[in-house]
Amino acid sequence: MQTTDKPPLLELSAVSKRFVKPLDIAMQIGNLLGAHLREEVVHAVDGVDLSIMQGEVVGLVGESGCGKSTLGRLAIGLLPLSAGRRSWKGAPLDGLPAERARALQLKMQMIFQDPYASLNPRMRVIDIVGEAPVAHGLIHRRQQTEFVGLQLNRVGLDPTLMRRFPHQFSGGQRARIGIARALAVKPEFLVCDESVAALDVSIQAQVLNLFDDLQSALGLTYLFISHDLGVVQHISDRVLIMYLGRIVESGLTQQIFHAPNHPYTQALLAEVGKVEPKKRTFVPIKGEIPSPLAPPPGCHFHPRCPHVMDRCRVESPPLVEIAPARMSACWLNATAG
């Protein structure tokens, strides 16, 4: 991969995202009359550090509502940060002049989850894929047909279909259109947000192979967001496990899957279905992911954790290095070490 002295392609330091639901007028009047209503604040992402090297595939795993999609959107600047900094190849990304910021924005693209909802049903494929490169002056409008043809070819679609509308394609083909659209502006970094979740197994395998091929052909870097551990294990070099807005464990894919450290990771991995024809007894993790509106104090996982101690209920464990390139946030490591 890369030498370590090179700055990471994208670095997020202590980024947070809070969504605030302000008080409406009735609530404000209520407060004047003595009701104690507060604004509702969701800490979707809470002080996350993340650095991604060029050419790396980083998997981000978590249950729905844990903030993984929000983190993906923060990473490429689709959502403004509430706190923290972003830098690209060592240079800060915030407070840049508009023109420079726009040029850099093109380097980061996103592939969305739902191939049905993320394509405009009223646009033809040629416009879906070819609009952005023309608008950003990467190509001239006269070159659009030829350019879109090349892009479609690259993702394994027949260029003669470019005058069609999205509804005329199958789910797998739409996923390819979404990929072609993201690649059309020549990005270096792609956030794939559950990009294969909506596809059938046989089509999912095709699209995963396509991601693989494109990475080697174009030297892309991926942040691969998924709840499917099998997919993440297959595609990622490194994995981050997220729970309720915080990273609870990170490390190389091999390490995480062979020796999970955090109790949450262990529980998640126990749920990975293996295609083995053995009647197995399903042993569930207790409880559900708590509401991010009122996260439990201390370690967010403690109400569901089988190893919970008194300390977990009050103090939040920091994400510490437990082995080279391996981080985990659990008090069990503090007592054991």
Partner: protein, 353 residues
């Protein structure tokens, strides 16, 4: 409603109103609980006839879990809907028979079907937000299902609803009965949907991708509850899914569907360890966790065919590496070359290494 002697009482704890395999004096295990034979459900659209279910046959014994596996558009959900009598025009069951114990369901009147549905046959759908009525409280939705089929007091119905919620692992059931569906999380809603399906102790529950919309940890919880229930109550289960890993740990037998037909069936063990049909093998190969990490996945080329005007012969031949000229004729359902009893497939060139 006649209360029969509790035949399974020795096995499990005696259940009130338990409908066992010996209902109506049937000898146990002589006949399967559900027999589907040559079922055809076609949709007559302007563009042509869509053969969503085409010559599907399988049997289900009491307490058995049958996995119906296939990709979208393979007809697996339509098979489930056909069993429930939920096919709307332009669709229609055009042939075959569905026998639940002694009654033939395909010729049953709408009224007769209505008395079975939710009573002896129940269905759990994929999206629990769509199945639960958003403007009715859970207690109303549950008691309604009981009162429609049994002459009991509302108080009795409420008690049974509460019991069903406890059974699917819902904490503080009394409060939950008074809540509306939007106050539940996705996993909780699916539990409520399962509890509703269980209310009348059906013989067969058809579950159509019930855990697909849920997180893995929640999926684990739901599978745990379902497994426990089918073991304790002896309810037969048809589990429709595209996820082979779920079915591998849950089902006794598997039917693999492709383009409206069952292409392979047998015990879970046989189908997953000695797949005979190239499509089954391809599906298994596509699962990422069965491939060495970092290497290319072994993919099936092409995509599932449109069910409109399927060419005669094997529907998989366009994507199959083993296809030859003979594949233009439809292969019969034959015993698989390797594997045990009841392992059958529809292929001219089965895998037999």
């Amino acid at each position: 409603m006649s209360e029969q002697a509790d035949a399974m009482g020795a096995k499990g704890r005696p259940e009130r109103e338990y409908r066992s395999a010996q209902r109506e004096g049937d000898p146990v295990n002589v006949k399967p609980l559900l027999e589907v034979d040559g079922l055809r459900t076609h949709f007559f659209t302007k563009a042509g006839v869509v053969k969503a279910v085409d010559d599907v046959s399988f049997t289900l014994a009491a307490g058995e879990v049958l996995g119906l596996v296939g990709e979208s558009g393979s007809g697996k959900s339509m098979t489930g809907y056909s069993l429930m009598g939920l096919i709307d025009p332009p669709g229609r069951i055009v042939g075959g028979s569905i026998r639940l114990r002694d009654s033939e369901l395909t010729t049953l009147s709408a009224e007769g079907m209505r008395s079975l549905r939710g009573n002896r046959l129940a269905m759990i759908f994929q999206d629990p937000m769509m199945t639960l009525n958003p403007v009715l409280r859970v207690d109303r939705q549950m008691t309604e299902a009981i009162l429609a089929h049994a002459k009991v007091s509302e108080r009795e119905a409420l008690a049974r609803s509460r019991e069903a919620l406890v059974k699917v692992g819902i904490a503080s059931p009394d409060e939950r009965l008074m809540a509306y569906p939007h106050q539940f999380s996705g996993g909780m809603r699916q539990r409520v949907a399962i509890a509703i399906a269980l209310l009348n102790r059906p013989d067969v529950i058809i579950a159509d991708e019930p855990t697909t919309a849920l997180d893995v940890t929640i999926q684990g919880q739901i599978l745990y509850e379902v497994q426990k229930l089918s073991r304790e109550l002896g309810t037969a289960l048809i589990w429709i899914t595209h996820d082979l890993s779920v079915i591998a740990g849950l089902a006794d037998r598997i039917c693999v569907m492709y383009a409206g037909r069952i292409v392979e069936q047998g015990t879970t063990e046989d189908v997953l360890t000695h797949p005979a049909h190239p499509y089954t093998q391809g599906l298994l190969d596509s699962v990422p966790s069965r491939n060495p990490p970092g290497e290319r996945l072994r993919q099936i080329p092409g995509m599932t065919p449109s069910l409109l005007d399927v060419a005669p012969g094997c529907a998989f031949r366009e994507r199959c590496t083993r296809a030859t000229a003979i594949c233009e004729t439809m292969p019969d359902m034959l015993p698989a070359p390797r594997g045990g009893e009841g392992h059958a497939m529809r292929c001219h060139h089965p895998l037999a290494d």
